[in-house]
Subunit: 404 residues, 2 copies
């Protein structure tokens, strides 16, 4: 499977097997036991992460990112082995069942990942706590700048007016909601999340920014929100909805949207058909999660009677975001180990590394879908986006950052 | 069904039935016989056009556009009658069969519409013979300007280089191919169409523009083209492919695309689910045609292993294009009647009017899909499109229009 590069795998008995053409930095990985060898060969999608987390796949030269990067860059995506194909088929069937995601299960799934402690996320996120794909306007832009550009880009696509009421589904630690209110200047934002840690910090930030009369955060499932909104935005939450609930998600969004409303959905997706979400990710990182294909999303959008007015496909932006997070995480790994343990740190390194390679070498991207109920709710051509970004940039400059 | 407006229907016996609230310009339609009344009530999607063409639905005040516009503007799309729903279900089943579109059938389907004679199309198209949706940069832009803007917009999304070989699938009368060569300056364009009248005129235009060494036109089915191209573009042809052939279409496109190639597909589509193509259109205007939903298109794009890098949704642009064509057509209706007959003119007036209302009041739009084989074949963000348009606009100014 590996033709390019210099990969050495050290077997449990100490044998050194060389793969590739020897070009580039040498990468050496050791497997500690025979069972690990079989696990890796039979079901690499699930087992590679488990073996690395358990310390049974040990990197002796290079990092786990280098290892995954080399394997995936060589990978012939079109001809997976029959065993991998069989696991894929099985997983398509079982993942649907595991993604039922009723209210109780959704809350547990969210707590599993997002309630790890603010101190932990502070180790590697940007100062505004944006835990989703940044928007790099040029190569080498800093993560903090690119996350600000992301909020600006989304605000521009929402065509905001000062009178607007905005619903933010999956508001995280509140950064986008505070931007929409503090910079874009809308009358009212309601941000909802199921994470208790996120809601506490979001509320504290609203208080510090003196925006509590215009920005509210609620520990509420989006399905429990009532009323209609001029704008609805959802960034990095749809990945948790689960394939079986897409119809219900868009039907609910439609009911929350005023007649001339605009919605912006920002979600990871893939262009594989059929789409299997990585089993290690759904077992250890995001239980109940599913990476949608664009056709799956649109089937449900169409059934809900919503109109797609624009789709931007952010390619490679998340790879660069994840690289920035991983570099920050590795620089402060000792602090993370003190909060949790070595095993947890290996799991997180694997999660960040593996996700980056998926965006860099596989067909995983971020979709920004703009949805409307009426065709005339957005302008005829897309030049309003750049114009609005220019305007928002000027407003950002006029605001003391400490205020948010 | 009609609550707003002032519609009067005159029955065969001379009875005048009034519908609506009486507001706005009065519209009066007369049905000449009892069978016409039943036909209209039972299957309006197919029969309205037939009755108007046959002179059995006669407009006494207002035009057929005014009539259709009033009915559709009032229409409650969410609750079609059970009879209309039954016809829809039946048609989904039978349309798939009628859209087999092998090479011989495709050629007959194309001849049916596109070989009506250049003199006829000259009556209402812009001077460059663009027979697809224009790109109106601002309300009230002239059709000729908006068609030029469309070619510029498509060229910008293709990221053209002077060395490029471009394939234009469904080249029409050659306007886009000549623009890509004469203005954008690519090395080679191959335009293919199945219309003998189109190919003759396209070749004559290439000769007049002295571009025959760089622009070739061929009377060839796209499935018979060989080799690989740096860029593939297809404008207003996909509507003829037929739902059952989408997989084959995108598989063929993928085989024609070089590794770092970019493809731009411009097609009418709808956001209905499930999608039924208007039965009158497929019987009288575009046999074998099908209006795709975006989810149907993307299912096949994903299966072909192509990556979507951008989707623009042109809403309402085709409504304004069709209005410009209908106004030009009606102004020169006598000339069309001299070429064909009154019945033909009524059919074309109905086709243009009905299509405009579909874009204005129903969920019919134009999709511009940009497709790639590799994620890094297009820049990170979309600002290159506006920059390239600016550059192309400058080149247009430097070229004497008569040269093309």
């Amino acid at each position: 499977m590996v033709r390019r590069g210099a990969l050495t795998v050290v077997s449990p008995s100490g044998e050194r097997l060389n793969f590739g053409d020897g070009a580039g930095e040498p990468i050496v990985a050791r497997l500690t036991d025979k069972a690990a060898v079989w696990a890796l060969l039979l079901d690499p999608d699930l087992r590679t992460g488990e073996l690395f987390t358990d310390g049974r796949l040990v990197m002796e030269q290079g990092t786990i990112y280098d290892f995954l990067s080399l394997v995936l860059d060589n990978d012939n995506q079109e001809n997976p082995s029959p065993i991998v194909q069989a696991f894929d088929r099985l997983r398509i069937a079982t993942q649907l069942w595991r993604q039922r995601n009723d209210l109780g299960r959704s809350r547990r799934n969210v707590a599993h990942h997002y309630d790890l402690g603010d101190a932990f996320y502070a180790l590697f996120l940007d100062p505004d706590w944006q835990y989703s794909c940044a928007y790099f306007e040029y190569p080498g832009q800093s993560l903090a700048d690119a996350q600000l550009a992301k909020k600006r880009h989304i605000a521009a696509k929402l065509l905001l007016e000062p009178s607007h009421r905005v619903l933010d589904i999956g508001c995280g630690w509140g950064g986008l909601a505070l931007y929409l209110s503090g910079v874009a200047g809308v009358a009212e934002v309601l941000g909802v999340t199921l994470s208790e840690e996120q809601i506490a910090r979001a509320n504290a930030r609203a208080l510090a920014a003196r925006l509590t009369d215009r920005v509210k955060f609620a520990l509420t499932d989006y399905r429990a929100v009532e009323g209609r909104f001029d704008r609805v935005v959802s960034v990095g939450m749809f990945e948790h909805v689960g394939l079986g609930n897409y119809d219900a998600f868009f039907q609910t969004c439609r009911e929350r949207l005023a007649d001339d409303a605009v919605m912006l959905l920002h979600t990871i997706g893939c262009s594989d058909e059929p789409s299997v979400t990585n089993p290690w990710i759904t077992r250890y990182i995001f239980p109940g999660g599913h990476l949608p294909s664009l056709s799956d999303i649109l089937k449900s959008v169409e059934r809900a009677g919503l109109i797609v007015s624009d789709i931007e496909v952010l390619r490679l932006h998340y790879a660069d975001t994840l690289r920035a997070w991983r570099e920050a995480f590795m620089a402060r790994r000792a602090e993370a180990a003190a909060m949790f343990d070595e095993r947890f740190c290996r799991m997180w390194e694997y999660y960040l590394a593996m996700s980056e390679t998926a965006f860099r070498y596989e067909q995983v991207v971020v979709f920004q879908l703009q949805l409307v109920r009426r065709q005339d709710s957005v302008p005829l051509i897309r030049d309003y986006i750049a114009a609005s970004e220019l305007d928002l940039r000027a407003r950002e400059a006029a605001i003391v950052i400490g205020d948010l």
